[in-house]
Symmetry: C2
Subunit: 215 residues, 2 copies
Amino acid sequence: MARAAAAAPTKSAKSGDKAPRGGRRADAVRNRQHVLEVAQAVFAELGLTVPIDEIAKRAGVGVGTVYRHFPTKEALFGAILQHHMELIADHAEALMEKADAGAALFELLHTMARESHKKKDFIHALGGYPTGEVKTAKKRFVAAFDALVKRAQRAKELRPDVTAEDVIMLSKSVFSSGEQDEATRTRRLGVLFDGLRATANAVKAAKRTHKTRSS
Amino acid sequence: MARAAAAAPTKSAKSGDKAPRGGRRADAVRNRQHVLEVAQAVFAELGLTVPIDEIAKRAGVGVGTVYRHFPTKEALFGAILQHHMELIADHAEALMEKADAGAALFELLHTMARESHKKKDFIHALGGYPTGEVKTAKKRFVAAFDALVKRAQRAKELRPDVTAEDVIMLSKSVFSSGEQDEATRTRRLGVLFDGLRATANAVKAAKRTHKTRSS
DNA sequence: CCCAAATCGGAACCTCGACTCCGTTTAGGA
DNA sequence: TCCTAAACGGAGTCGAGGTTCCGATTTGGG
């Protein structure tokens, strides 16, 4: 059977609320959601090599159920990825409102570092993953991120010679690096940010090129 | 599957006619070396998920041969890793001779970035891999690297608040990041180096004694 | 040239994990 | 309450890849 029916007022809402429910049975919807949540946690904890059986067991359902909701393991992982991707994309877009261009970009990176610390799948999402659904979400994120980067450069808060991809790639190291405490993460991001800021170095780098003929 | 004879437990020179000569036959030695080289190339090209069969095929030998020389796939990979580890360790140790402490460290990182660009197993070696043989080599490298870092900090060429591990972790992003052209790699390392230099806050200013006068 | 030990080759074996199939259970409308 | 389609569980299928086994082949000393 489906998971415990946790006293949900299913009945009351039976009338006119069939919004996006293509005739799905209530418990099926609930199960799908639950599997998704458990899978996210499990993937984050053991990496995406965990057997589907493990996820099914932890979710308290049979493998068959998992597969009915998600055709393949990759589809399951993709669904999670997509969700995360959308969250950051939202965040990134929201940050375009923020006045301080530099702070906006760095805040986003900080958040991503903190998040991915627990959800290592973020990394995969950033790396290649052109799979349908995810692709769209990723594209949205990339566009937003790119805008943040360009804006920060325009505001002279970020080196003019780096690309959005450079920023992401360089940050990845801080995102991944196993488990690290807040302090370590902050310290590393600090190093990175200093390198990325136009203030301290890019300008000087330019000057340096002047007074010292390129080796 | 009843065996007839043959299964005689290694009688180690039962007939005192065989002179003790390391025991290895010339062709066996040749094969081992060849497998090692091919394996290195294949791992670098396809990653360590390639089937042993593929390596055997490309080396022109049977899987049995591969397994006689290397008990497990991991052992094979480990042998390669160990070799690489030793090479960088050598390089790192040699760089302690170099006068400019900062340049020495950055040169090592540059080399590593260039190398790992083609040999993605480097990354694995840097990440956890406490497997016997490799462990020793890794330890040697870490010690040498650590010395370089400390020396650079003493010379005020590197931020005093970063650890050797920070440096390695941060560099990893440049090491991995798929295939990238020389320019991209250099650009990213540049950002990183600027962040790593003591500069950023204030301690810096005009302390830069140019290096890069090699050869 | 001869022979036994050392090697070799690669089919067979085994484990593991993704995915399928189908009998059983449950939701929920009449 | 009753009935049927929807959903479920989980044993079973299938393929992939690591490792083993053993007859065939080679090497190298006598």
